[in-house]
Homo-oligomer: 300 residues x 2
């Protein structure tokens, strides 16, 4: 005897329209920036944009930790995260790396741990609070830092390599995300991870990979013509797998903090929930794409 199939959730058209509208506005802005990616000011703008997102993300992270009764530090977490982000920006500008990652991490550690000694009045939850501050700084600093490094990649025969790679990252992740939403809403039957994210289904996950692959081949046909079919397939599957795992990781965090929306009453992205909800797949996909083009294509 098999259990009866779960009822199909209705397609949420209002949220979908808002979601697509917001995505459209972002897309226009983003494509402009990517097209101009070889300009130094475009690199600075991109880094500043991600710096702003980093502070917003650390703030959401801090609120989540405080909801659990801990005291992660927004100031120390943002400073630590920005130091890591700045490392990737400077590495993109100067291969000699004036702020190596070990130094950024050492300064981050000093800000988080010594900062707590000097500025935190309530040290009763020092261990967990400082651990949460680190996690927010690493999650946003590395997750967004790899995007900065990708954007500043040069060295392929084509102009504007970095812009093409960021376009690839976003299109692959977001087309997978959208495909999962449609396929999951229309065909979803078998629960993927009911404890973690009860709405996700195996059908949606496969739809996600289909969207990832379609996007990767679209990128190969347009922005990155030097990719082989093997590259496109490998990058699509890699980013799709890692991105979906990253999405689940963030879901477990929210669940453990009894939070439905990482935003929790702060600034929202219309139709998209909190910032962390929107970037959770990108955070893990960015280092995966970086590793692929670094080790397979030899970009530096």
């Amino acid at each position: 005897m098999t259990p009866p199939p779960a009822p199909r959730p209705p397609l949420d058209r209002k949220n979908l329209a808002l979601r697509l509208g917001t995505a459209f506005v972002f897309a226009i802005f983003f494509l402009t920036l990517l097209y101009l990616g070889d300009q130094p000011w475009a690199q600075v703008t991109f880094c500043l944009l991600l710096g702003g997102a980093l502070v917003m993300g650390v703030a959401e992270f801090t609120r989540m930790g405080r909801k659990l009764g801990h005291r992660p530090s927004l100031a120390a977490g943002a400073l630590a995260g920005l130091a890591i982000l700045l490392h990737f920006f400077l590495l993109g500008l100067h291969p000699t790396d004036p702020l190596p990652l070990w130094l950024a991490l050492t300064l981050a550690g000093a800000a988080i741990h010594f900062g707590a000694l000097f500025f935190e009045r309530d040290l009763d939850s020092a261990l967990t609070s400082q651990a949460l501050t680190w996690l927010g700084a690493l999650y946003l600093g590395l997750g967004l830092g790899f995007q900065v490094k990708l954007f500043m990649f040069t060295g392929s025969a084509l102009a504007n390599t970095g812009g093409r790679l960021i376009l690839a990252l976003y299109l692959i992740v977001w087309m997978g995300d959208s495909a999962a939403y449609f396929v999951g809403s229309l065909l979803g039957r078998h629960k993927l991870a009911p404890r973690v994210s009860p709405k996700k289904t195996w059908e949606g996950a496969l739809g996600n990979l289909g969207g990832n692959l379609a996007a990767a081949f679209l990128i190969k046909a347009t922005a990155c013509p030097q990719w082989t079919a093997v590259d496109a397939a490998a990058i699509g599957l890699l980013l799709g797998t890692v991105g979906q795992l990253g999405d689940l990781v963030e879901s477990t965090w929210k669940r453990s903090a009894h939070v439905k929306d990482s935003n929790m009453g702060g600034i929202a992205i219309p139709g998209h929930g909190g910032l962390l909800d929107r970037i959770d797949s990108l955070v893990f996909a960015a280092p995966a794409l970086y590793a692929y083009v670094h080790f397979v294509h030899g970009l530096n």
Copy 2:
């Protein structure tokens, strides 16, 4: 009206003898290893030794987190920490860095976050548990990793640069520690940080710096004759300050976990409490010494 001076704590002779005895055994072993530091097998032995200490430290860390009701992962934390340690070892062997720090951190993140998705049955405290796993991995991985890198330094005119630097690190930190113990026990009156570490006094802290400076000049006179007096003073004060702050940081963690001894019933170092208690100053002093000899002396 000033409050009456606090009663002077008695000098604990039994613990002191045990402490000195253990230190003596370690010293013999250590000096032998340092003297042979240019041998490849000595570098491997040192790295393995610190790898063992890393796992022991992560285990103490994990016990502390579990005492607070969280579920940090010993396996993921140890793997993540060892990846970071291995980065420093390989960097010491090959300047081209086959396991760059960004890759070690990416693999660490995958082990900690994806590992929890696949292997952790109870995800109710996912956010704090994974944050604690990261903190243990970073604390031990970076703290001990910088020692590995220091030990593998070459490039000064003298043979065995790395052994000399590790000797400097340990002697400066531990002579400061011992001086603080004697001066604090004999003369301590004014509490330094009663909330965090009630036994520490300003007199002890100044004694600590005195011990750091004396050790730094002793090192200049013997193992590192190329140091100037400014080098010795700067390194003594830098390591003494950072080391004492690091000691306080670890004290706040133990206090927040309601733990007196980081060891908590695991393997102890006789007379010295847990491993974390013993290395807390070294963890922060090692990157400080590394940064000094890297930026001021140009060692790579």
